[in-house]
Amino acid sequence: MSDTVKILASDVNVFYDTKQALHDINIDIMDRQVTAFIGPSGCGKSTFLRCFNRMNDVIPSCRVDGHIMMGDENINDQALDPVFLRARVGMVFQKPNPFPKSIFENVAYGPRIHGLVTNKSEAEDIVVDSLKRSGLWNEVHDRLHDPATGLSGGQQQRLCIARAIAVQPEVLLMDEPCSALDPIATSIIEELINDLKDRFTIIIVTHSMQQAARVSQKTAYFHLGHLIEYGETKDVFTRPADPQTEAYISGKIG
């Protein structure tokens, strides 16, 4: 665990057409820690997460203002190539979305497109390493060339994590990665997140407060597009400073 700031977002405002989705968000994400974004649905936590790898560019009506600094680069600078950014900021989505290819090809996809591997054996090394790191190796090592769509939901999601870390990003964004999974698969993924935080800065959006409490070091609570509270996870959950946070955590709103 380190105390350096990895990403510093200041005065971030997000609009869909004229509707404002996020208001003046200021936050600093710590290097190699797990930061959780929580809040009721529609509060803007996923939208904010997608600002970190410019996935909002895909939505034509969406406009993002403000500075999101990673090192000395502004993520939100239109001159910055999002392709380059996304190689450094990986993402795991709500629904497992393996490509309709083999398990091997799924994991090798990222390194290949970015030119990080030049031959088959380098690709093999990366695939094996990423699968091991994502805890999937033992389950799939004998069927690497089977279609990835044949895996179970939890396995598919871990494959997506393996696929993301194969590119060696600095930051890993996770958008409710367990919402489509059963409790056992969820707990496996939570353990995995815990292992991964030594190497990656992780930001996770979750609708489950217990999950946030279990996996994260820092928690940010969003409500109606505002960042209400941000702090050490244990503080946010035990002594919330804001009455809204308290209401959410105690189940009065949600």
């Binding site: 790898n53 996935m55 895909v58 034509p60 392709v83 380059f84 950014l85 996304r86 190689a87 990986g90 993402m91 795991v92 989505f93 629904k95 979305n97 393996p98 490509f99 309709p100 290819k101 996809y109 990222g110 497109i113 970015h114 769509t149 997506c160 696929r163 993301a164 590119v167």
Partner: protein, 471 residues
């Protein structure tokens, strides 16, 4: 005037009148019954009327249609008999003409050329008047009996609505079964005629023969000797060159349509803004809505000569009915077909896959070529198969722009013929319905049907494959 009464239309009008009368009679009967028995009817009053109309109208209309469709052949049979009695040595090719003349004389459209014809026409007129009269009387009787029967059954506790709806339901079921009947009709009629062809011409020679020349006169001396063994004196019907021509033209069409259609679809699905989409999509649909005869016209009179002149310029000998011209224009026709099917298939690839690819740092191009297209692949193959099926079955473009003589060649600058061109050639003009030549068209037709059917089924199963894999 009586002629109109007893005609089909006249009988139909009478039927409608009678049905209307029955409707009101049944309502009166019902209200009378209600008053005498003092009980409430089971259904709304008009259901009793509708029930009676079913009985008054439908059996009678069925009698009318069936009678009409079966007596026409009988009438012709009658004329042919008296014709052959009057002209014992009339050539068979004149029979149809004479029949038409007799009918026209009897209806007063033309004057009889001689007394024999006048006599025949009078005979025919007398017989057909009698038949019409008989039909008219039968139909009216059936209608009245049906209506009266229905009225006699009307009582307040009679469940008119239930019976009426049961009837409707049966009619609806029949309507749905028409689709099956059509398919059966196609298969049975084509197979029947094709079978008659195969009793006169060996199927193996048809399916694997490499020489196609249905007109005996056109055959050349050398091949003549060979053909005598195979086709007797009636031309040779080896469909390989015809099929090869069909496939060559379809291949050229796909060569034009697949790249243009597919790239257009990719652009529309992945790059175009909504505004561009809103304009381009309907424009391409216009291309799809243009009748094939217009494409044929364009191919025969503009593109064909254009390619020929281009060839002359380049010192090449290009047929003015080259496979290239027909195929290229057919390709243009198929572009919107491929682009809209592919567009559907590409946009059906789930958003989550695109996000996944972009999230890993793919460019849009990489997302499309490495993730979206592979995911859409089965659907795209299905679309291409449908397009091939369409190209093979397309008629007007090739009838107008491709050749008529069958050649076994892969040179797109030569003139080739296709299955559909041959069908049209064999069945237009004055041909007897029973000749081997005519029947061979049906053998080609059933082959065409089977080939396109297989392609359609394959296409369907391909596009189903993509549906199963993702939500």
């Amino acid at each position: 005037m009586t002629a109109f009464f007893t005609s089909f239309t006249g009988s139909l009008l009478w039927l409608i009148l009678i049905s209307a009368g029955i409707y009101f009679l049944s309502l009166r009967r019902l209200s009378g019954q209600i008053q005498t028995s003092q009980s409430k009817p089971h259904s709304l009053a008009y259901y009793y009327g509708r029930y009676a109309v079913i009985w008054a109208f439908f059996p009678a209309i069925i009698v009318l249609i069936v009678w009409t469709s079966f007596t026409r052949p009988l009438e012709n049979q009658f004329i042919i008999q008296s014709l052959s009695a009057a002209y014992p040595d009339l050539p068979s090719s004149f029979v149809d003409l004479k029949i038409a003349q007799i009918k026209n004389i009897s209806s007063g459209l033309i004057a009889a050329e001689d007394d024999i014809m006048r006599g025949l026409a009078d005979q025919y007129g007398y017989a057909s008047d009698r038949l019409s009269m008989l039909r008219y009387v039968t139909v009216i009787l059936v209608s009245l009996i049906g209506g009266m029967f229905a009225i006699s059954r009307i009582k307040p506790h009679f469940k008119a609505r239930v019976v009426f709806e049961g009837f409707l339901r049966r009619v609806f079921t029949f309507a749905a079964i028409v689709a099956i009947l059509t398919t059966i009709g196609i298969i049975v009629s084509l197979t029947f005629e094709a079978f008659r062809f195969f009793t006169q011409y060996h199927p193996i020679d048809f399916f694997f023969g490499t020489h196609w020349s249905p007109n005996v006169a056109l055959r050349e001396g050398v091949e003549n000797a060979l053909d005598e063994d195979v086709g007797g004196s009636s031309g040779s019907f080896g469909m390989i060159p015809v099929m090869a021509g069909t496939l060559l033209i379809a291949f050229i069409a796909m060569l034009v349509a697949v790249p243009i259609g597919l790239f257009a679809a990719i652009y529309m699905a992945e790059f175009a803004s909504r505004r561009v989409r809103n304009y381009v999509k309907p424009t391409l649909e216009v291309l799809a809505g243009i009748p094939t005869v217009v494409y044929g016209f364009f191919a025969a009179l503009t593109i064909g000569p254009f390619i020929r002149n281009l060839g002359l310029f380049a010192g090449l000998d290009v047929s003015s009915q080259s496979a290239l011209a027909a195929g290229a224009v057919m390709g243009i026709m198929i572009i919107p077909f491929i682009s809209s099917l592919s567009d559907d298939v590409i946009t059906a690839v789930p958003r989550s896959l695109r996000d996944g690819a972009l999230g890993l740092g793919s460019t849009r191009g990489e997302m499309i070529t490495k993730v979206v297209l592979p995911a859409a692949f089965p659907g795209l193959v299905g679309a291409f198969l449908l397009a091939i099926s369409r190209a093979i079955g397309e008629t007007m473009i090739v009838v107008m722009a491709a050749g008529v003589s069958a050649q076994l060649t892969a040179n797109p600058l030569d003139s080739v013929t296709t299955v559909t061109v041959q069908i049209v050639m064999l069945l237009t003009g004055d041909t007897e319905f029973d000749s081997v030549k005519t029947l061979s068209a049906f053998a080609l037709g059933i082959t065409l049907f089977v080939v396109t059917l297989c392609l359609n089924i394959a296409a369907l199963s391909m596009s189903r494959r993509i549906g199963g894999r993702y939500e």
